[in-house]
């Protein structure tokens, strides 16, 4: 592998395609879901589905199932929608479990160089209990190979939260701090430079305030979880803030900020930005985010732009186009990416995805092309 290709890998985080945590789907704004918390236990999206999210996946999102055919009975999820296709019946009581598997095939090429690899991005067991305002949440699974590290068992998230009837909440544990738009593609440029594409969870405390029209989340943390666990010198104070305002059920505005103090591995840095989500029609969602990533120690300021336009051409068949760009600094060149994707949801909890990435680096004539095929099974 040439030095230039290695550099492109580093810039785009392509080596960490294997570290993704699938599940967040902001494209469902077109179905008037302007909060992640309807379908996910985490208000930041992704991870274990709530019973409502499970039912929705089968009854409403899958191509070959329809709500009139076999609606989920009131009070519980059953059949294909349920954990392990309902094999355990009601034996789990209020505890919800899920298994997330994400086998993938990655092919990339630049000039005369090309390579392919098969990956098992995710193999996680997720569980949660919710009652009386409390939620206990945990995930355990296989951490895939990242850079020089081999796969190992670990828990990506584990936290406890409480939300009052007035919408004031607190969360403690290991979790993904809220920032910007949590696109399903975790390599989106709005997050990749912030450490939110890999090793991204923090140990910390998050306070939140939920109203009918807004969601405020503020997180403080002594550092990223993996740095704390490994004691690798990367531990430093982290804080993030995110305010979402729902102007309508199909129009959302988001403002975010991040500050991360200096560590032995990284200089002090932060980010601030805004995003708008708009669903002009019931099958079209358009998200646009702009951020300024600011890094001390001569790192300069990089401006980031990400747009994702998703269209449901047919029930359960989605296409997306996502232009993304980042201005260069003295330390890193600018970059521009075209991401085209197609996703098919044939049955409950099955998502077949095919994405194409076309990356151009400032100062380089050659493009970097990546094809990613994924099968996400959520049992």
């Amino acid at each position: 592998m040439t030095i230039r290709v290695c550099f492109v890998f580093a810039v785009f985080g392509l080596v960490v395609f294997s570290a993704g945590r699938a599940g967040a789907e902001p494209r469902f704004l077109s179905k008037q879901y302007n909060r992640c918390s309807s379908c996910h236990y985490s208000a930041s999206g992704g991870g274990l589905l709530t019973p409502y999210g499970r039912a929705l996946s089968g009854q409403e999102l899958a191509t070959t199932r329809h709500v009139n055919a076999q609606p989920a009975p009131e009070g519980n999820v059953s059949g294909e929608d349920a954990f392990l296709f309902g094999a355990l019946g009601d034996h789990l009581g209020p505890v919800q479990l899920g298994v997330s598997l994400l086998p993938s095939h990655l092919h990339f090429a630049s000039g005369s160089f090309s390579d392919s690899r098969n990956l098992l991005m995710n193999a996680d067991v997720e569980g949660a209990y919710r009652g009386h305002g409390w939620t206990a949440y945990g995930e355990a699974g296989r951490m895939p190979e990242i850079r020089s590290e081999g796969p190992r068992l670990y828990s990506r998230e584990h936290w406890v939260s409480y939300e009052s009837r007035r919408g004031v909440g607190i969360k403690v544990g290991r979790y993904m701090p809220a920032y910007g738009i949590h696109f399903a593609d975790h390599t989106s440029l709005n997050r990749s430079d912030l450490g939110f594409d890999h090793d991204d969870q923090v140990y910390g405390v998050e306070v939140s305030r939920t109203t009918d029209q807004s969601l405020l989340q503020i997180s403080v943390s002594p550092g990223r979880a993996e740095s704390i666990v490994k004691d690798d010198g990367g531990t430093s104070f982290n804080t993030t803030g995110r305010l979402q305002v729902d102007l309508a059920s199909n129009v959302v505005v988001v403002g975010s900020g991040l500050y991360r103090d200096e560590s032995l591995l990284e200089s002090r840095h932060g980010a601030a930005g805004g995003a708008v989500g708009f669903a002009p029609w019931r099958r079209v969602t358009i998200w646009t985010e702009g951020d300024a990533h600011i890094r001390a120690g001569g790192g300069g300021t990089s401006l980031v732009f990400v747009n994702e336009t998703a269209v449901e051409a047919f029930r359960g068949v989605w296409f997306k186009v996502s232009p993304q760009g980042r201005t260069g600094t003295d330390l890193s060149p600018g970059a521009f990416r075209w991401n085209l994707g197609a996703h098919v949801l044939p049955r409950a909890h099955v998502d077949l995805g095919l994405d194409f990435y076309f990356d151009k680096i400032e100062g380089s004539d050659k493009a970097f092309k990546t094809v990613l095929a994924q099968l996400h099974m959520y049992l």
Binding site: S30, K31, Q32, Y33, N34, R35, S37, S38, A43, T50, P51, Y52, R54, A55, L56, Q59, E60, H66, V67, N68, P71, A72, E74, G75, N76, V77, R130, G167, T210, T211, D212, Q213, L215, D246, A248, S249, N250, R282
Partner: protein
């Protein structure tokens, strides 16, 4: 003579206010001939117990209104065929119509009807301003008084009319909408919007 001078401008204001309602229904009185309805819709904003909200929408707004010389309220009614309400996904539509609005129970459940509509005194002008809005709403076979705000604004040759009012769904005997841990809060907001063009 004095009575005529004070009565005439007042009558003009009230009549103009009524015209904006006539256009929603294509009323056949003399004043309504000056207006044509172009777009009309009803939106019900339903806040969720987990945060956020969704809208149930329809364009099936119909009815007839006319001047009631005895009162300030409008005679006649506006009705909405509830089966045309759309929340964007069929699962939610089915639950809303079958389990909560129970449209299968008969005529009184199939439509929502606004009657005794009173737009009150207009604060500014004829087709541009705000006013208090009161009416009676029959929903789920139950009749209740509602109150809110009405706004009219000039849009070129057209007038945009918007009336909104909150309702508590428990007041109408509708059971608590809840499905697999996600529910609709008790108070929802109804908004009626339409545009009308002045005929030449």
């Amino acid at each position: 003579m004095d009575n005529k001078r004070t009565f005439k401008p007042a009558l003009t204001i009230v009549a103009s206010a009524l015209i904006t309602w006539f256009v929603a229904s294509g009323v056949g009185v003399a004043q309504s001939r000056a207006w044509t309805t172009t777009i009309g819709d009803v939106r019900v904003t339903c806040p969720l117990t987990v945060g956020g909200s969704f809208e149930a929408k329809t364009t099936a707004l119909a009815g007839r209104l006319s001047v009631d010389p005895a009162t300030r309220a409008l005679a006649g009614e506006l009705s909405v065929e509830l089966k045309t309400l759309d929340t964007g996904i069929s699962l939610r539509n089915q639950h809303m119509l079958d389990n909560y609005l129970e449209v299968q129970k008969g005529e009184d459940f199939e439509t929502a009807v606004l009657s005794n509509i009173d737009v009150g005194p207009l604060t500014t002008g004829v087709t541009d301003g705000h006013s208090r809005f009161t009416a009676r709403l029959r929903l789920h076979g139950t009749l209740q008084a509602v109150a809110g705000q009405a706004t009219m604004s000039e849009r070129g040759s057209a007038v945009r009319v918007e009336a909104s009012f909150p309702i508590r769904i428990s007041d109408y005997g509708i059971r608590d909408p809840r499905y697999l841990g996600v529910g609709v809060k008790n108070e929802v907001v109804v908004r009626v919007v339409f545009f009308a063009n002045k005929d030449s």
